[in-house]
């Protein structure tokens, strides 16, 4: 069973909710797919047991064979190759590692080489949980391949919680696709509402059932409540704005660990999730 936590808008509290859930479910697996800015480790403080380098494939030209026929440039849909007649220049930022240039080179002058695109870390959480995250290399543009690898680190049968990057583009899709349920974390502002609608659009397209958590809940922004009610959406939990929650978070603490009421809210959320997913989640 895999549950994703996403939001559309950044900073609504995805990581706090995802990490808190992982914390109240002993033995669960937390996977931080926000590889551009991974923060889950700050809250869960895992004991890191393994760090691996992740690579993407890029073409490597054998100039002893290459006759600059231009075929590789023609088949590259991403304009990542430039024929300078004395050199085939690669803009590796633009390379999507599709392998077409290697395959179509008539002289077989292209092989593929590894280029680092980030790190993948494995760790243990003190409630017997497992922890994984990815760190995109600074300057690397495409996050989706690394997200895919980080997600696939765990292949067992434990409950998995995936912390998605913000937004509604390919990175978010890479993190939430094929998960059985998605928790959308939003906040009581027009920004939160606008981006919630965008995120719902994505989930509907890829057929992922979802429920909503309103973080920093403020009843005076009634438009959000109204939207959820009118569209018959599934409201899982409202977390009120509280200075003590903000303060614990600011220090890198996990609210579920130190605030009893927050822990209770997370357990309530878990109960609802069990119901939503027809009891597939096992919880001691």
């Amino acid at each position: 069973m895999t549950i994703s936590v996403a939001s559309g808008k950044g900073g609504t509290g995805k990581t706090t909710v995802a990490a808190s859930l992982a914390f109240v479910i002993p033995g669960s697996v937390y996977i931080d797919c926000d590889v551009e800015e991974p923060n889950g480790h700050l809250l869960l403080k895992p004991h890191i047991i393994k760090v691996e380098t992740s690579y993407k494939l890029i073409p490597k030209i054998n100039y002893e064979v290459c006759d600059f026929c231009n075929k590789c440039v023609e088949v590259c849909e991403f304009n990542a190759l430039l024929n300078l007649k004395s050199e085939i220049y690669l803009f590796d930022q633009l390379c999507h590692s599709c392998g077409a240039c290697t395959y179509f080179c008539p002289l077989k002058a292209i092989t593929e080489a590894n280029k680092e695109d980030g790190k993948i870390r494995t760790g243990k959480i003190k409630n017997n949980g497992l922890f994984f995250d990815g760190y995109l290399k600074i300057g690397e543009a495409s996050a989706a391949p690394l997200i895919n690898k980080v997600r696939n680190q765990y292949k067992g049968s434990r409950l998995v919680i995936i912390d998605s990057p913000p937004g509604t583009s390919c990175s978010m899709v890479e993190a939430v696709k094929d998960t059985q349920y998605c928790i959308l974390v939003t906040e009581s502002t027009p920004f939160g509402l606008n981006d919630l609608k965008l995120a719902i659009n994505v989930l509907r397209q890829i057929n992922i059932p979802f429920g909503i958590v309103i973080n920093k809940y403020d009843e005076s922004f009634y438009q959000l409540d109204e939207y959820i009610r009118n569209k018959n959406l599934n409201l899982l939990l409202k977390i009120p704005y509280r200075m003590d929650i903000a303060e614990i978070y600011s220090k890198g603490g996990l609210p579920a660990e130190t605030i009893k009421e927050y822990e209770k809210m997370m357990k309530e959320l878990l109960k609802k999730l069990m119901k939503e997913t027809a009891g597939v989640i096992e919880y001691a």
């Binding site: 559309g8 808008k9 950044g10 900073g11 609504t12 990581t15 926000d34 551009e36 800015e37 923060n39 700050l42 088949v75 849909e77 991403f78 930022q93 999507h96 590692s97 599709c98 392998g99 077409a100 395959y103 179509f104 995109l136 600074i138 300057g139 690397e140 543009a141 495409s142 996050a143 989706a144 990057p165 913000p166 937004g167 509604t168 583009s169 390919c170 990175s171 978010m172 899709v173 696709k177 009581s188 502002t189 027009p190 920004f191 606008n194 981006d195 965008l198 659009n201 994505v202 397209q205 890829i206 403020d218 005076s220 922004f221 903000a246 303060e247 978070y249 600011s250 220090k251 890198g252």
Partner: protein, 290 residues
């Protein structure tokens, strides 16, 4: 290519939700002779607080997608074997997974795969109340190519820039990946909005490393600094040790939320902030014009 006589300022943060849009929209209230661009193309918010008319809308075709014509397909499955994105199964293309590389299209011996241009978004050219131009976009849900869309909007903005334009103010996306890299092209100064949290500092450091790589000057605003004064001090010390200037410290104030809820910028909603943002804008101008 920007060839005008303007400077470009991008507001970024690394971490989401620190207040990029709030700060960027306040700056647009102060700055004159400007163009404003929201480059957070997959979750644009600036249009919610800046009153504007839409003058034109443009469709954006970011890439192509493959589609197998069943009647021509001899089911050799070569396409599936070469596709590295798990986008082909049972002689059908999963549009969501298709990277648009065209490998399958070229490899197909039956000429059975179409490669069609796919609409990945729309972007709008708008006019603000002071007649400045304002651009924002809407990526099609779940699309890739967000960086290319950012590049396309910026190009459009440069083309349309009139001679008197002195500033381009960019409200950027969170993170440090593709759309951020595209937002940073040709930028003169980055205003980094951070918050006094562990995550804020962690993400600030990654963003500063990116700026170092691109050799772009950054200045920091610590937003909601009084939520954790100790952490604010840590951030101040850190940026000082890196030779980065502090632009301002802004307190936590419920009026920031109220301003957004009322579809207004903070400067318009609470006039007390006018002086604060005037001061920030002065410092930005000084940093760029000296």
């Amino acid at each position: 290519m920007p060839d005008g006589n303007y400077k470009q300022i991008a507001v970024l943060s690394g971490k989401g939700g620190t207040g990029k849009t709030t700060i960027a929209s306040a700056l647009t209230e102060i700055a004159e002779n400007k163009i404003v661009i929201d480059t957070d193309v997959d979750a644009a918010n600036m249009f919610l607080v800046l009153p504007h008319y839409i003058n034109a809308e443009y469709e954006y075709f970011g890439g192509r997608k493959a589609e197998i014509i069943f009647s021509r397909c001899s089911q050799c499955n070569l396409c599936e074997s070469v596709c590295r994105f798990n986008a082909i199964k049972d002689y059908k293309v999963n549009r969501q997974n298709c990277e648009g590389c065209g490998f399958c299209v070229r490899v197909c011996p039956d000429d059975a795969i179409l490669f069609y241009a796919s609409k990945s978004g729309v972007y709008s050219e708008c006019e603000l109340e002071d007649h400045s131009k304002f651009y924002y976009a809407q990526l099609v849900a779940g699309e890739g190519n967000s960086g290319k869309l950012v590049t396309e909007i910026k190009k459009k903005a440069y083309e349309q820039a009139e001679k008197n334009v002195k500033w381009i103010i960019i409200d950027g996306p969170p993170g440090i990946g593709c759309p951020v890299n595209a937002s940073l092209v040709k930028v003169d100064l980055v205003v980094i909005v951070t918050e006094p949290t562990q995550s804020g500092l962690h993400d600030l450091i990654r963003l500063l490393n990116l700026l170092k790589l691109f050799k772009i000057q950054g200045m920091v605003i610590i937003n909601k600094f009084d939520i954790n004064i100790h952490m604010s001090k840590n951030i101040e010390n850190y940026i000082q040790s890196e030779g980065i200037k502090l632009l301002a410290k802004i307190p936590f104030d419920i009026n920031f939320v109220k301003a957004i809820q009322n579809s207004k910028t903070i400067v318009e909603y609470d006039h007390a902030y006018k002086d604060i943002f005037n001061d920030i804008w002065d410092k930005i101008q000084k940093a760029l014009l000296n």
